[in-house]
């Protein structure tokens, strides 16, 4: 493992920015493009929002943890909570499925996470919590030759 970090924080939406920015800094050694970074930040935001809103039902005393590790240009990130858990993960991951339609959730969180990552795994147990893990291989993006 080339680098590893773990960040835990209270389940308040302000801390979504903290999670995004810690991941941004963690990835900066890979010199990502704006697009690559913005995709990863979107995935982290969706998973952290789920932990806060669904996992802890917005109880600020819940603790959300973001783990990240890097091996070469492969990055693995896990977002976990010790909240209510998910009864049926396959169903939860279906596009448009949401248990909070009144909060104007789109039900597209997992679909977005899947489309922006190379691999997405969701482990959950009712009453125990949820762990969402994704992997992403960062390409050695070359800037076009005519730029420099």
């Amino acid at each position: 493992m080339d680098n590893e970090m773990t960040l835990s924080f209270m389940a308040v939406s302000d801390n979504e920015a903290l999670a995004r920015i810690a991941i941004t800094s963690f990835l900066s050694v890979l010199d990502p493009t704006i697009e690559e970074l913005s995709e990863i930040k979107t995935v982290v935001s969706e998973a952290v929002t789920n932990a806060i809103i669904h996992g802890y039902d917005e109880n600020p005393n819940g603790i959300v943890t973001v783990q990240a590790s890097r091996h070469g240009r492969e990055v693995t990130i896990t977002i976990l909570d010790q909240g209510i858990g998910i009864e049926n993960v396959t169903q939860a991951m279906e596009p448009l499925y949401t248990t909070k339609p009144l909060l104007e959730r789109s039900g597209m969180g997992f679909t977005i996470m899947e489309s922006f990552t190379d691999q997405l795994t969701v482990q959950s147990e009712l009453g125990k919590g949820t762990a969402v893990t994704f992997k992403k291989q960062f390409q050695p993006v070359q800037e076009p030759l005519y730029v420099r």
Partner: protein
Amino acid sequence: IGEIQRFLRDDGMVKVSRSIRELNFKIRHATDDFLKNNERPPTLQELAQQLDVSIDDITMASDALRDPASLHEQIFE
């Protein structure tokens, strides 16, 4: 160059590191201007407003102020 940069930006090809360097440069100027006009340093939000970027971006770019290597690049690029 500006047009190529804009094209690249739309294309998602621009490196975060470059945009941070650019913003870092703007932060330095905006901080100086603010100090002159208000006789106190700007807050994070004031900088974000003035430069029309997110607090996240200010947080990342202002940290680059500390890095002598990036300063060197700004000055000599």
